[in-house]
Point group: D2
Chain length 457, copies 4
Amino acid sequence: MMQDQNDGLWEKAIRRLVPLGLEAWNERRLLDGKLTLTPDLNGGDVERLIKWIDACLADDGGQVAARDRAVTLAREFKALNRDGRARFLMLLAEQYAVDEARVERAMEQWRAAGNEGRMQAALALRDALEPPRMTLLTRFNGVPEGVKFLVDLRAELLSLRKEYPQLAPLEADLKRLLGAWFDVGLLQLEQISWQSSAELLEKLIAYEAVHAIRDWNDLKNRLRPDRRCFAFFHPNMPNEPLIFVEVALVEGMAGSIQAVLDEDAPVLDARRADTAIFYSISNAQAGLAGISFGNFLIKRVVKLLRQELPQLKQFATLSPIPGFSRWLERLPDDVLAGLPGGTVWRDTGSAGALLDPERLDPLRAEALQRLMAWYLCREQRNGRYALDPVAHFHLSNGAQVARLNWAADLSEKGRRQSAGMMVNYRYELPRIETRSQSYTVDGAVATSASMKKLLKA
Amino acid sequence: MMQDQNDGLWEKAIRRLVPLGLEAWNERRLLDGKLTLTPDLNGGDVERLIKWIDACLADDGGQVAARDRAVTLAREFKALNRDGRARFLMLLAEQYAVDEARVERAMEQWRAAGNEGRMQAALALRDALEPPRMTLLTRFNGVPEGVKFLVDLRAELLSLRKEYPQLAPLEADLKRLLGAWFDVGLLQLEQISWQSSAELLEKLIAYEAVHAIRDWNDLKNRLRPDRRCFAFFHPNMPNEPLIFVEVALVEGMAGSIQAVLDEDAPVLDARRADTAIFYSISNAQAGLAGISFGNFLIKRVVKLLRQELPQLKQFATLSPIPGFSRWLERLPDDVLAGLPGGTVWRDTGSAGALLDPERLDPLRAEALQRLMAWYLCREQRNGRYALDPVAHFHLSNGAQVARLNWAADLSEKGRRQSAGMMVNYRYELPRIETRSQSYTVDGAVATSASMKKLLKA
Amino acid sequence: MMQDQNDGLWEKAIRRLVPLGLEAWNERRLLDGKLTLTPDLNGGDVERLIKWIDACLADDGGQVAARDRAVTLAREFKALNRDGRARFLMLLAEQYAVDEARVERAMEQWRAAGNEGRMQAALALRDALEPPRMTLLTRFNGVPEGVKFLVDLRAELLSLRKEYPQLAPLEADLKRLLGAWFDVGLLQLEQISWQSSAELLEKLIAYEAVHAIRDWNDLKNRLRPDRRCFAFFHPNMPNEPLIFVEVALVEGMAGSIQAVLDEDAPVLDARRADTAIFYSISNAQAGLAGISFGNFLIKRVVKLLRQELPQLKQFATLSPIPGFSRWLERLPDDVLAGLPGGTVWRDTGSAGALLDPERLDPLRAEALQRLMAWYLCREQRNGRYALDPVAHFHLSNGAQVARLNWAADLSEKGRRQSAGMMVNYRYELPRIETRSQSYTVDGAVATSASMKKLLKA
Amino acid sequence: MMQDQNDGLWEKAIRRLVPLGLEAWNERRLLDGKLTLTPDLNGGDVERLIKWIDACLADDGGQVAARDRAVTLAREFKALNRDGRARFLMLLAEQYAVDEARVERAMEQWRAAGNEGRMQAALALRDALEPPRMTLLTRFNGVPEGVKFLVDLRAELLSLRKEYPQLAPLEADLKRLLGAWFDVGLLQLEQISWQSSAELLEKLIAYEAVHAIRDWNDLKNRLRPDRRCFAFFHPNMPNEPLIFVEVALVEGMAGSIQAVLDEDAPVLDARRADTAIFYSISNAQAGLAGISFGNFLIKRVVKLLRQELPQLKQFATLSPIPGFSRWLERLPDDVLAGLPGGTVWRDTGSAGALLDPERLDPLRAEALQRLMAWYLCREQRNGRYALDPVAHFHLSNGAQVARLNWAADLSEKGRRQSAGMMVNYRYELPRIETRSQSYTVDGAVATSASMKKLLKA
């Protein structure tokens, strides 16, 4: 939260100065080329700042200088503290928003326009709906690594959103801008290996979100000859993965994350593998939340792997089941009783047992697996989609729920969230599109024979 | 022009089928994965085509398949003949345009919304203004060299515009899409040299628009050690220059394009040059017309040259004057008489003399230069900007009209358009921004002492 | 030939100064860091030059400075005229040769040494056989593009050899040095394409030795999608091909060089070709004469092509037959009469007919082909190897003489040297080694059925 | 040591088979293309092995196949155990050595030859001195990463040398071969940074020989913006540094290795540094021992740094003094008494004090520094060169002994070998060559004023 006193100062300053804004526009030739701000952006900065922003919006002949000023502003922004940054963003959110009067006028024109004038009117309306800050945001790309700067700016906006709900429209503008630039067709899929730069590889360590990378030895083991790692990159952010997937080349379906990550396991000749297991997918850029390319990643990686290793027969994930324990704990007894395995589970044990899959009574273990099958394949969100978010992701991508694996993730997190179970989602190429559509349209969940068996009453 | 009969067929077919559009959407799972069209896209193709386009617009789970379909469609489009392509584009222009009823509804919601609802309403209105074809255009980027495909598609739309004015909104959409992607901050400035690929270099030959490159020897001479060539590139079009500039490193201001291009001229040690002459700037992509980066190019190249060769003291162009002869010929006698040099010119000669600068009577030559000075520095378009387009470009960039050069371009084109004269525009770094603003705001043209002298009555 | 007078001066100067050599060594600290020579290296330069060379040979601590001096010397050498260079090389050849007295002493030590001392003695003897100029030659590699400098130096020595036979030992030393550096295992095989740099591609035009490349269009046609070009490179000469081969991907055996080089011929989808035709192999570096890698080139290219295009079934050349006409003309009548087709040829015509294959009488044409078959497959050099040099090259590489092609090279050169005929040598992978050995050891020439038929009496 | 029994078997086998060697040569066409050896190369392998080696030595037509066989052999060699490898190397050392009879004959020819024949005779003699194994060694370069294979092979030979002195000539041959390929003029100097590949960077950790790199954080700290790292590379060993140097950019002379390596020290803007400190130089390839490029490295790095950062004024090392403590401990009392500081040291303390520089009595500390100055600047090896090896290296490179630093290396190793002291050797560019010569020729040690003061009696 901002320091109150300064804040009042700041608000007063804005109120007093904003009317100067348009005038300042014409005065921009008076700017002396330097901008320095206090770290928390106190009230005294406002006048200078507004003049500066206005000068960043110039078009035509002055555009080169205007863009240079935007770059200076972006640099100054980086030097602000949290309060200063919040104030700056609020200024953008509130003073450089859509001009509603202009929108009203454009709507009038639309109504007045006949058929021939509609195109122009639509254009004018669209322009009117474009807030002036959009130009400033775009011009921030001139800073070194400017696209990354904007991605991080959105991450910051998302993190400030709760405290400052007024920032929402600014965040939405930035999302729209990034959405255009990060269209999946403009991205590049690249392999990451031990030959990649240390600068890039340390980001894998930082960004891995599913099974944390302990150290450089763990990392190197995930890049050994029977492993693969791929990521999407944006050409203007060459050292920053957007999303990456880690793949294990194995014989037969993999059923244990411990085995996959074992640094002492012998290396398989990749040309002898028959199965590719996608065991970790991590979004790397918080600032790109809601701009998705995960579904493209898996399918394009499958394509690449088939080219490199034509003998591969099976493509599947080894996935966590993040919501199971929470769901099970909150399940009312009577509902539980109606599910496959429900009565056995209710009548035989206690919740603690969840955390110790290796010692669980076989009867309870079986009950737990049946409940898990139900949770993954039948339990719905919004009466349509799978409740489990990972399941939903893969099902909407066209995968099948293929196999449950007992004692597959014995980490503390794995025991806690899913009693140590993991699941394989299988991608069968010829059926991917049909399954994706059936799930998206009708909520139909594709399941293997073994899952069907578990689901039987 | 399209063949009439087929055209009628086509229009009927559309009328009949478009209502099917939405239904077809739900039927898209029935598409058999293949699309083949007749080269001129006859009426029988319409149904299949509309189904296919609809299937290209799917979102979420089906997006991967939808994008694959868009790629197929783009490939098929390439195989159409001119009539077929025009028909396809017209279909996009007319059937996948902004839904006006939806816009009306969104405008209603805006009016109804209170302060809190305005952001959502603005968003909804903006969405309603987005025509469905925009999604399709975007997804065409998935074709190999997809961005180039879209740039060329816009070039095609521009060339079809006169014949088919209905394509204007589609062209405007594509311009908007490309404008976002080709923001100058996302472009890369790169040097082109004899070490560049032949594939890239042959494009210089094709695209050079000012002083045609005769052959590979001429090209090599323009890349010799006392020459430089720079271009902007888009990261998704790595082998396609967007705009490029050719620079000669010389001693003193260059006054003759023949000298600059002379293949037998001795090579200067670049570290001894004091002047960089920009003697040719060419836009390379017709499809990016109106999306400008020329003003950025010169300034960024100046920056690069100063880093490489800190001893450089002067940056100037050696520029053609495309509009002079036409202007002079059309000048009413009484107006001519009022201009510096006007009476001398009127009283001493005939127009043909223009074409032979080397033999011109000195008195007439002086008169011609004074008229030229007037043309460049005083003659206005819209009561504000320089009439000559090249002059306008450099003046709005902040240059000064520095020197006229007699017998500077003795090519047929040079004689014809400007009596063989060329002009140097000088870029003086500390004054660029002020000059750009003075010109843009007040129409003030910066002139050197020598130009001022010529302008005196 | 050198100018005589200066030459006498020079020789006297050497005689007087060389005894100073060793002393100069100790005086090298007196060198002032600058070396300037007259372009023709007149007598007055000798003293300074010898001091300088001696200073280039220092070892240990002074080695860095000594190498810098060698670089200066190499630069000065480049600025000399032809006479000056010849004098400099002669100085190296005569004054920095093997020290015979030292060799004698080392031979004595060898004899004196017992079993244990032999290794040391061999080492000492080898050292004694190493002329001091070898150190200087090696150190020339420090010049920018130093390896290329040495390759060109050898080319110059080879061209001077006739006029100055005394240079032979120097040339042999340089060959030995280059032989070690250009061992084929250290070279890199790379594809050359239209994406290669213009700087590299213009060298293909310069170096092509079999079918001259007319211009950049011809070149581009040889790099189109159904053509391939590969070259060996040395890592220290990255822009200089050592040897390159041009390949046409075709359907069936190619029988006409005109067809292969036709710029209007339709482009074949490379994945549909069944045959790769090696239609031109050129050594690019005169200075590497006698250091061969041609036999490696073909086999490694075959390997690469099979990886890229597994459907290829046949690998063959389309080769000129440079020695045929000369051989036929010089053939005594009685010998001619004993050869297949000989009497027909002798009795029916005149030599001129050779130059017009398209109008030749069919009987004579057949006779000519039978004589050609004999020439290629039976006519020997040294009682063992094929007389034709191209035939010898491919046969020792393990190829088979596969097919004669009539009217296959209608260029003036092709008519002149082989009556327009060309030959295909076929490389059949499983038989390459056996054939190479049979030919090398026993002189056995592998021939196809069609050749065998022509060879029948 | 090899297992005895098998060894006897092996020797017998060789004796019996070697006469077959030449015959086997002619039988090489019988080789079936496969070679498999027992891991310890038992006697039964000998016959096959000798045949195979012979087949690897073929020339001309068969050279391609012969080189393929050499590659197979190198692969098999890698799979042998230590005994097997030693046996294989011994076979090369003993059976493929110089043919002494041939040398004798060549010496005869030399004597017999007149002046004109000498060149041929020298050539023949040189050839005779070349053992056949040299061809095999060269051809091993065809294995993937073949040059690295040979470098490692020499490292292995060096480590086997004590146990198997018979390997010395083989090792000498390999050194000669590598010496030609690793001539410093053929090497590339490259900067190593955090942007380098992890594969390369992990080698720095492995090879750092002076101040061990603890982990990836320590490594990253050594590559931060005010640090530099450079290495020589061979173009055929692109991922293997040959020798590398670590540089700290600082203000003023650095006097403590702790400070240089401190991960918490603030990063200096490199453009503000006035001094470059070479604080670690490590040879990375044991197999290149005796083939030196260290003296080139420092001077070329100085050149590069001056280009990048022209404001640098001082270039110096911060070096360990490996031999001091050992020297001091072994010093006879009477000799000690005659040295500066000697009597104070002898009369005041005990050896243990050496290990605790921070608590040492100031009087003793001063005495110790004076002794150190003597050790570095006056104590000689062979009556000519500095006794301390690091001092010798830098002095022969032209450096000056500039400054002693107390408590400069408080690591256990630093305390043990030099009582925690380190020394700066200063490279003053204009004096490097003179100093190098004075030291090399006369043993003169360049010293700073502060060192001279310490040296005073």
